[in-house]
Amino acid sequence: MSLVALSRKKSPWLLHFETGGCNGCAIEVWACLTPVYDVERFGMVNTGNPKHADVLIVTGCVNARSGRVLRNLYSQMPEPKVVIAVGVCACTGGIFHDSYNLAPGADRAIPVDIYIPNCAARPEAIIDSVLHAVDLLEEKGRSYDARRS
């Protein structure tokens, strides 16, 4: 594996956006950063800035207002990028799917690459998805390089 591909796999920087669920998944994402789960083992740091991020983690259901912010954040991230929808609300809307102001799932607003079910998603599942995401990043990085050259 080339050094570039390896680096892409080893350094997924994270941007977390809570679009408007109940916070349950959001705190589990934060729990992943803390000593017991520690995703920094895989080179993941929480940047809090879309311009530095590689992985966008979306938790919660998307309404019109937060969807606009979500699209903004997604478009500000430089290529290659991966989106993870954490929890049933971000996947399909979960228990709120019937509500009058929600889009059923984050994939109505932006393209989603990985879905994590469960309410709330467990930290272990989030780590699993990060491991999927780095493979996808490398894959997307290759196709991005091909487009650029």
């Binding site: 017991v36 799917h97 879905y115 272990e124």
Partner: protein
């Protein structure tokens, strides 16, 4: 300041508490709610689970003899397991894995609908 110094030095020498997750998996607790599984052979298509589900993720079709669940809408509350008279839905302890494409799970039952006496379990 010195209290924190004490704490971080203790952490440094006692080693990390990080669970080496993908390499070593901790067995989930006995009561953990992970995901629902259908034992379709036991299903009598009484539709109770469909009625009890708060997220409307279970669809039971008596005519076609299919039982389907959208796991990406299921909130793992365990109501369907509680109301099922024939133990056709069970809760296991393992969470669902992340996926790239989400699809509902559809189970089809072959043959006639079994005659299981719901009283055997005692419905709440």
């Amino acid at each position: 300041m010195f209290e924190m110094l004490n704490t971080i030095l203790k952490n440094l020498f006692s080693g990390p508490v990080t669970r080496p997750y993908p390499a070593q998996r901790r067995e989930p607790f006995a009561s953990t709610r992970g995901q629902i599984k259908s034992v379709i052979e036991n299903c009598i298509f009484c539709m109770r689970c469909q009625a009890a589900c708060p997220a409307n993720c279970i669809v039971v079709d008596r005519k076609e003899q299919t039982w389907s669940v959208d796991p990406y809408r299921c909130i793992v509350c365990g109501m369907c397991v509680e109301v099922c008279p024939t133990e056709a839905i069970i809760m296991n302890r393992h969470y669902r894995d992340p996926v790239k494409h989400r699809e509902p799970i559809v189970k089809h039952q072959e043959g006639p609908i079994p005659k299981i006496n719901p009283k055997a379990k005692g419905i709440n």
